[in-house]
């Protein structure tokens, strides 16, 4: 566990330094270090580029990555399905629709409305999936199918909004929707951190509940867990986390699917270890995807959400193939 965490933190440092140093105006690592140690002596334009532009972008990537990853770990445990992920289940699409309604539907919507709108969207979607797939317990396959269906419905509604909205609002919304951290500023970072803090604390404190709930209703009830209550609480936490992350960065796909799987590979299935490691993996993947998106086709910036989709889609296929023999 310690080795895994150290390695991940090491990789995160490398990605962070790369992300802060690389760009139209390269800042060599030496200068970065000088800036961090003696901020007063640094040239103002370097400080502006690093502290004002690249750092919030990095911080937002880290927070959003951790958020998507933890939301994924929660869904995989409560739905007892390795393919469950807020993105695939349409929970993120619900959040996106919520935010889109605010951005396009309201004239000059203030930015602070985005996270609550995302939360309302994601919770409505989570609730709808849960209710529609409930039939004496929740079968994994039905949840995924209904989630995919509702997700495309929300996607269609989002697209419809873009067709009828005012052009400037739509443009702003579309840039956000692709899933990117480019326009990050410290205000976005603070808002996301505040939104994530309470659900993160509660989720991490509930590791024992998550360990047990994935045994299925009979076993968990038999051991004295109030399964329906735990599941409902976990869905609310997941909706809070996804809603806030989507409101901040748009749709960054597949982190919620990939990160928990990698975490379980690294530290086994117990949530006391899975949750922190999975948050770290997510925190590493989004800034890494953002860096790749900036570096590969420079000066064109490919949004992080597109990079993660390019990597994540084959991974999803791989998981389906690996579970091809499992009962639905």
């Amino acid at each position: 566990m310690t080795r895994v965490v150290t390695t991940l933190l090491g990789l995160l440092t490398i990605v962070a330094v790369a992300g802060l140093a690389w760009g139209d105006y390269p800042v060599p690592p030496g200068e970065l270090l000088a800036l961090l140690l003696r901020p007063a002596e640094a040239p103002p334009h370097v400080e502006m580029i690093v502290v004002g532009l690249r750092m919030p972008r990095l911080a937002l990537g880290i927070l959003a990555g951790a958020a998507f990853a933890v939301a994924g770990a929660i869904t995989q445990a409560i739905m007892r399905n390795p393919l469950a992920e807020p993105g695939i289940l349409g929970i993120n699409a619900g959040a996106a629709l919520g935010v889109m309604i605010v951005l396009v539907g309201l004239k000059n919507a203030p930015a602070y409305l985005a996270p609550p709108a995302g939360f309302v969207g994601s919770s409505a979607m989570a609730l709808a999936i849960y209710l529609l797939s409930w039939r004496n317990g929740t079968s994994s396959l039905r949840i995924v199918l209904i989630g995919i269906g509702l997700g495309s419905l929300a996607g269609a509604a989002t697209t419809t909004l873009t067709a009828f909205g005012a052009i400037t609002d739509v443009q702003r919304a579309l840039i956000w929707l692709t899933g990117s951290v480019y326009h990050a500023d410290w205000h976005d970072v603070r808002m996301l951190a505040l939104w994530l803090f309470p659900p993160f604390v509660l989720t991490f404190a509930s590791f024992r509940q998550l360990d047990l709930v994935r045994f299925g209703d009979t076993a968990a009830l038999g051991l004295g867990q109030r399964v329906d209550l735990v599941r409902a609480m976990m869905i609310v936490l997941c909706a809070l986390i996804s809603g806030a992350a989507v409101a901040a960065t748009g749709l960054i796909a597949f982190i919620g699917l990939v990160a928990p799987h990698l975490a379980r590979r690294l530290v086994g299935p117990m949530h006391a270890k899975v949750l922190p490691v999975c948050a770290l993996v997510g925190a590493l993947l989004v800034p890494a995807a953002d860096f790749l998106g900036r570096a590969v086709l420079a000066p064109v910036q490919v949004p992080a959400g597109i990079v993660t989709a390019l990597i994540g889609a084959p991974f999803f296929g791989f998981l389906l193939w690996r579970h091809r023999n499992a009962a639905a």
């Binding site: 047990l212 994935r214 076993a219 086994g268 299935p269």
Partner: protein, 269 residues
């Protein structure tokens, strides 16, 4: 190690119990008293309501009519956790999450004993150690459950239920899908829990001869009703087997244990 006497007195019974799944009665007006400190086998043909009765006994299924009484009080009036402190359940064919070790599985059994956010205690460790040694799984503690053989896997799950340290244990078809050696292993374990620890064990069994050999009390169900509920010698008769299974049989004493053994002859036309 003998258990405290309260295991002897904690009793489980049903009063006019009926359970229906979407209006089809599966268990029909049952009055059954489970003997304490004994092994009770629930037997009967497919669809006779054995597993449903077991689930109702565990409080996991709410009755349509009547009630299950735990120590004289309706089980539905206990909280899930209170029930889990008295009754351990092993479901049919449970599936462990990928990569979960035997020890981590056994540790789940401590869930009802630990208040929310309480730390893992010495007592919890002792209970898990005891559960693993009773099931002979101590050496396999670090192995992932999904890599074990069928018999070992079943023992790992029993270890989890034992770590729960409940006076009553309900097992749903613990020997189904196991080969002969592993079936014997599981039944010997169940019967030793009764003999040496004074636990009350109720188990659904498909094999009549297995039931007759290991059980102190045998319940024969047909279409949701009890046809017979008594010691195996009184339940395993040509007449009752004919009535319940529609099968003609010969009953002979088991050469080893003298318990009744059923040799089926043919299905009744």
């Amino acid at each position: 190690m003998p258990r405290p006497e309260d295991c002897e007195t904690l009793c489980l019974e049903t009063k006019g119990l009926s359970v229906a799944y979407s209006s089809a009665l599966v268990v029909d007006n049952l009055n059954l008293s489970i003997p304490s400190g004994a092994l009770t086998a629930l037997t009967g043909p497919n669809g006779s309501g054995k597993s449903t009765l077991l689930r109702a006994l565990s409080g996991l299924l709410s009755p349509t009519h009547g009630s299950v009484l735990l120590d004289g009080r309706s089980i539905s009036r206990f909280t899930t956790r209170e029930v889990a402190l008295q009754v351990g359940v092993l479901a049919q064919g449970p599936v462990a999450p990928e990569g979960l070790t035997v020890l981590d599985l056994a540790r789940q059994g401590r869930y009802p004993h630990r208040p929310l956010f309480a730390r893992w205690s010495e007592k919890d460790t002792a209970a898990c150690d005891r559960a693993l040694s009773l099931t002979g799984m101590t050496e396999l503690g670090d192995r992932p459950v999904d890599q074990l053989s069928g018999g070992q896997r079943q023992r790992a799950w029993i270890a989890m239920t034992l770590a729960q340290e409940t006076p009553i244990l309900l097992l749903d078809e613990p020997t189904t899908y196991l080969d002969l050696a592993h079936q014997i292993e599981v039944m010997e374990l169940a019967s030793s829990l009764v003999r040496t620890m004074g636990k009350t064990v109720v188990t659904v069994l498909h094999d009549l001869n297995q039931a007759a050999r290991y059980a102190d009390h045998m319940v024969m169900l047909k279409a949701g009703r009890i046809v017979a509920s008594a010691p195996p010698a009184e339940v395993m008769t040509v007449e009752i087997v004919r009535e319940v299974f529609d099968v003609e049989s010969i009953i002979v004493p088991d050469p080893l244990t003298q318990t009744p053994m059923c040799i089926p002859v043919r299905r009744r036309p």
